[in-house]
């Protein structure tokens, strides 16, 4: 993911300055240069990048840097806050016209995914309990109408089209929807170039004729610098109410999101994240910001843990971890808790810093393999479980026999367990264990701490950072982090004292 680069750069920057009390203007310039590079690599338009950096500098204006004991973290904090600001600004809430139907017009370049989006949007409204109606006004591309008809029949939504000019089709489509008593009409238009004056005038006519309540620009998430020019021209012609980003699944580049928003000042309203009709939902700026922070999924993971684990076991675990005691019995009970939470693959997906290979490996872990681990531990005596150092060669052979596994498997488990114990000791001592996998997770969480001006070096800082995350205080819901304090779902981190 492209924002990984940004996160990584910031992380590097943060660690290089962590110990320093003062930050020189050169340091700052270098850091902002890195941010610039990361944004450009993410296809954010140059002008928007400049605006972003100016805003970050403004945030750092005055004596913020000189007053702070941790100036490096102040910089990171400013960058993150600005990201959340840009992504989370003025989210659009869909309201329905008091006199139905609510008319929605889709426009965009060729190949942005308008037709598919029209169907997905209809499907979304259907899921909201509405009665959508599709109007195929793309008479340009061969078989575009046919495509919408097929998609319409897949999702059970009627599609209107006829052989006329697009403006007339749109007008009659809306009239037909009104006659049929449908409450949402989605008009698909032909892809057009922003410099094609005739076609732009045509879509302007469609808009004037049907007076849509919402006009969305459909934009491909992998669009480069051109995104702004496109967005601006369409905005000038149509007065856009928002943007729909498609193909966000490719590798989740968000550059076009920032660019379009930066130029037209309109939010991304929906995002399409896959080929299936259902892979389409409201765009959550807070979640996107969390992804950039690289810790949104940690929140889900923690909430998942809270929901599924026994409170007693949790409390017990925490106290044991704090005291640095960790036995194979603890490991077993934890593993059982983990298994309650669902499949390994699913859980690994929630963890940040997990590589693709690890995820695939986790997907391949089946219950049998977990049973095997359980069998190995169960084949040990109480004494062995309490103190695995006494397990010598003959005991290993016995355990392998007893569990129906092999000595190497037993060895491996014991080695891993020893490492795990070390980590636990480190954690109890207030240090971040520096182990691949877990280490990454800790780093990511710690980076969040840095973002909010927290202390990177201790468990307390990490935990405080998580608690300070927007929505972290709110009782867990399945919907991910939410901020109930503010209306409109605007997500801005509470400022640190």
């Amino acid at each position: 993911m492209v924002f990984d680069t940004l996160s990584e750069r910031l992380e590097k920057f943060g660690s290089s300055l962590k110990s320093r009390g003062r930050i020189s203007p050169e340091d700052l310039d270098r850091a902002l240069g890195d941010v610039r590079a990361a944004l450009l690599e993410a296809d954010v338009e140059l002008g928007v990048v400049r605006g972003f950096l100016t805003a970050v500098k403004e945030r750092l204006g005055g004596d913020v840097l000189s007053r702070s004991l941790t100036p490096g973290q102040q910089v990171i904090k400013a960058v993150h806050e600005q990201l959340i600001e840009v992504l989370g600004s003025s989210p659009l809430k869909i309201t329905y016209a008091s006199k139905p139907p609510t008319v929605i017009l889709l426009a965009g370049l060729q190949g942005a995914g308008k037709t598919t989006t029209a169907a997905k949007l209809a499907n979304w409204f259907k899921a909201q309990g509405r009665q959508p109606f599709l109007v195929a006004a793309d008479l340009q591309r061969p078989a575009a109408v046919e495509q919408l008809r097929v998609l319409g029949s897949q999702i059970g939504v009627d599609v209107f089209s006829e052989l006329a000019n697009p403006v007339e089709v749109a007008r009659r489509g809306v009239a037909e929807a009104t006659r049929l008593g449908r409450d949402v009409v989605i008009i698909d238009t032909a892809g057009r170039l922003s410099i094609d004056a005739a076609l732009m005038a045509e879509v302007g006519d469609i808009s004037a004729t049907t007076t849509p309540h919402y006009t969305f620009l459909v934009i491909d998430s992998s669009t480069g610098q051109d995104a702004v020019a496109t967005a601006k021209t369409f905005h000038d012609t149509l007065e856009l109410s928002g943007v729909i980003v498609t193909k966000l699944d490719y590798d989740s580049r968000g550059g076009a999101v920032l660019s379009a928003q930066g130029v037209i000042g309109r939010p991304v309203v929906f995002a399409s994240t896959g080929e299936k009709m259902s892979e389409f939902d409201l765009f959550h700026p807070d979640r996107m910001a969390s992804r950039i922070l690289g810790m949104g999924d940690v929140m889900s993971l923690i909430e998942e843990a809270e929901r599924n684990m026994d409170a007693d076991v949790l409390a017990d675990t925490a106290s044991r971890m704090m005291s640095g005691v960790f036995t194979l019995d603890d490991f077993m009970s934890q593993m059982n808790q983990v298994r309650k939470m669902g499949s390994m693959g699913g859980l690994m997906r929630l963890m940040p810093g997990v590589t693709k290979e690890m995820r695939q490996a986790a997907d391949n872990v089946d219950e049998k393999q977990l049973d095997q681990v359980a069998a190995i531990v169960s084949s040990m005596t109480k004494e062995e479980r309490r103190n695995p150092t006494i397990i010598n060669g003959s005991r290993r052979t016995r355990i392998a026999h007893g569990s129906g596994t092999t000595v190497p498997a037993v060895n491996q488990l014991l080695n891993q367990f020893t490492q795990m114990q070390k980590m636990m000791k480190q954690m109890a001592g207030g240090n971040m264990p520096n182990v691949p996998g877990l280490g990454k997770m800790a780093q990511l969480a710690a980076r969040g701490a840095a973002a909010r001006g927290g202390d990177l070096s201790s468990m307390e800082g990490l935990e405080a950072a998580l608690a300070r995350r927007p929505g972290a205080i709110v009782a867990p819901t399945s919907g991910g982090p939410k901020n109930k304090k503010k209306k409109g779902g605007r997500v801005t981190p509470p400022k640190n004292r």
Partner: protein, 349 residues
């Protein structure tokens, strides 16, 4: 495997630990007032006009020539060292053409080191020109005796694969070739209809199957039919696919393997690329190259405001030549790529 379980368990433990601590501190934190940071209002930007490199030379030239001797006037044609301002302008022009940061940086460094003896615009032109690959841009139909050449079209969704095939078919048929189209996009609704309409328009034969059919079998059937009827060329469409999905890339590899089996022979695998695509195109090219041995790029939608600068990075980094470019809606608007005019268009203000 065990290692993975352990890592997962530890990580979850860690999560559980935080969960507990959060629960403990929740009450205390809930009473904290939250203040919002003051928001700078820089969200809406204007798009600045793109600077013109030629203008850069003119101002420099006129500045020098107005005040100096003949000797200086000769020097004013170019410059030994560029000012930071000039370098910044060059950088801006390249970045805004989607050339990408690494390539841009290397060109700027080159200019910083060598200066621009022939003028800034010329120096940038030649740097860009030498970044482009020297590989052949010819489209090949050379096959072993008794086989039919197949051109396979690949790419992500919405780049214009089907349309490109339609245009090539129209031109080839008009030039007297017998062309068979394989509707290998069995995923997108009505993709086969779209290709069939192109078939009707162009007079090419279309082989299609039902939606959801195996694309390899469609391509196989098309090759068989082309062979049986003595056709000159098979143009095989494929469904747009993410370059990040290994399953879909495997499927594509299979389509290519099947198409390359006698009597078919894949002579070109063309990756269709939308000119508006940004830095992501490099990743696309890399994956498609690995999965389907891409031999060339068709850069579509160059008639818009996008400049398609990313192909410089693709040609430079991966050595895949751009073979065709789409500069308009009609079949005649799909033209052979000319590096010189491309570079000129890239740098035009």
């Amino acid at each position: 495997m065990i290692a993975l379980v352990v890592v997962a368990t530890v990580a979850l433990l860690f999560a559980a630990f935080i969960a507990v601590r959060r629960r403990q501190t929740r009450v205390a934190r809930e009473s904290l007032p939250s203040t919002r940071a003051a928001m700078p209002s820089v969200l809406v930007h204007d798009i600045a006009a793109r600077p013109d490199l030629d203008a850069l030379d003119e101002t420099l030239g006129s500045r020098l020539s107005s005040s100096r001797s003949v000797f200086d006037r000769v020097r004013s044609l170019g410059t030994g060292t560029l000012t930071q301002e000039q370098l910044d302008t060059v950088e801006e022009v390249l970045l805004r053409s989607d050339v990408g940061l690494p390539t841009t940086t290397s060109i700027v460094e080159l200019l910083r080191r060598d200066g621009a003896p022939e003028g800034v615009a010329a120096a940038v032109r030649s740097a860009l020109r030498s970044s482009l690959t020297s590989a052949s841009r010819e489209l090949s139909t050379a096959v072993e005796a008794g086989r039919v050449p197949v051109w396979l079209f690949v790419g992500v969704n919405g780049v214009g694969k089907t349309t490109t095939i339609g245009k090539i078919a129209t031109r080839r048929v008009a030039a007297g070739s017998k062309v068979v189209l394989a509707a290998g996009d069995t995923f997108r609704a009505a993709a086969a209809e779209q290709l069939s309409l192109w078939g009707e328009r162009s007079g090419a034969d279309v082989v299609r199957a039902n939606e959801g059919a195996d694309p390899s079998s469609v391509v196989h059937d098309a090759v068989e039919r082309a062979f049986a009827r003595g056709a000159d060329l098979v143009l095989a469409d494929t469904a747009g696919r993410r370059h990040t999905s290994s399953n879909l890339l495997d499927e594509l590899s299979k389509v290519r393997r099947v198409a390359d089996r006698a009597p078919g022979q894949v002579t070109e695998t063309l990756m269709v690329l939308d000119a508006t695509t940004g830095q992501n195109a490099l990743a696309q090219a890399r994956e498609f190259l690995a999965a389907a041995q891409v031999t060339g790029i068709v850069l579509t939608k160059l008639d818009g405001t996008a400049r398609g600068g990313i192909v410089v990075a693709i040609e430079h980094g991966l050595g895949i030549p751009v073979k065709l470019i789409g500069i308009g809606e009609g079949p005649e608007d799909l033209v052979v790529f000319d590096p010189d005019s491309f570079v000129d268009a890239l740098l035009e203000a």
